[in-house]
């Protein structure tokens, strides 16, 4: 069974690589190379079986606290490139944000009863990314 908790934060970012020239960054990222911001929406899904006594896979209150501590507190109302490592050296695309959130949450969310299944990051309502961890690439 999958359970999902949704959380939101607002942050600014710019998509540009320090290894590329200004012109190359503009060509690759367009307007996204400018500092701008989003209301990010994150959906965290866990896979597990309901506990026979509590009837819950994981207490969503507990999940909410973990998400507030590991995601909202460091990300909300920040300029990701300047204030939130690893985005001082990793481009804060929706893909990299999803992977960073996975890495922040995994230690707290992998136990015998449930484990992290996916991170969905909505950069806008029209663009979102799902990340499933480092499973081997398959066709």
């Amino acid at each position: 069974m999958l359970i999902t908790r949704k959380v939101e934060f607002s942050a600014s970012h710019m998509c540009r690589s320090p290894h590329l020239s200004e012109e190359e960054n503009r060509k690759l990222f367009g307007l996204a190379a400018n500092q701008h911001g989003h209301n990010y929406v994150v959906e965290v899904s866990l896979k597990g079986e309901p506990d026979p006594v509590t009837g819950m896979v994981l207490d969503l209150k507990e999940l909410k606290e973990i998400l507030n501590r590991q995601v909202v507190a460091p990300y909300d109302h920040r300029f990701l490139n300047y204030e939130v490592p690893p985005f001082d050296r990793v481009i804060p695309t929706a893909e990299n944000i999803a992977r960073d959130i996975w890495q922040r949450l995994e230690p707290d969310l992998c136990n015998q009863k449930s484990r992290l299944y996916s991170i969905r990051v909505y950069e806008t309502a029209d663009l979102y990314v799902d990340y499933f961890g480092e499973e081997p690439c398959s066709a």
């Binding site: 481009i91 695309t93 499973e135 690439c137």
Partner: protein
Amino acid sequence: MFRVTRRYEFPASHRLHAAQLSEEENQRLYGKCNNPYGHGHNYVVEVVVRGPLDEATGRAVDPQRLDDLVAREVLAPFGHRNLNEDVNFASVVPTSENLAAEICHRLNRNWSEVFPGTWPKLEKIRIAETPRNIFEIRADEIK
């Protein structure tokens, strides 16, 4: 591995009417959707793409290239059009099932020209005719 979903909208009109059926059968089968002058929807198309991260760009798919492909192959031919007049629906009823298959086919056919490498791959498309009627087709279902 990442799955990137991009959402697009286009308005179009259609009329559901199967040439092989009688007027009466069409009316019974399609009801209001068979009204002779057609009707329209704000179609919402989600294009779902799968691939590993390109560490240099931090992305699994270049959204601009995807947008250009979808603009050319979907939004331009179908947006603000009457689907029944499209050549692909000359002999096929423009239901959202058939529209989903046609959109998936168009993206699949042009995919390697826009994304020449192994990745990213087109995984599926999902089309919402209204917020309550949703159709989904995987790229590997297209012959």
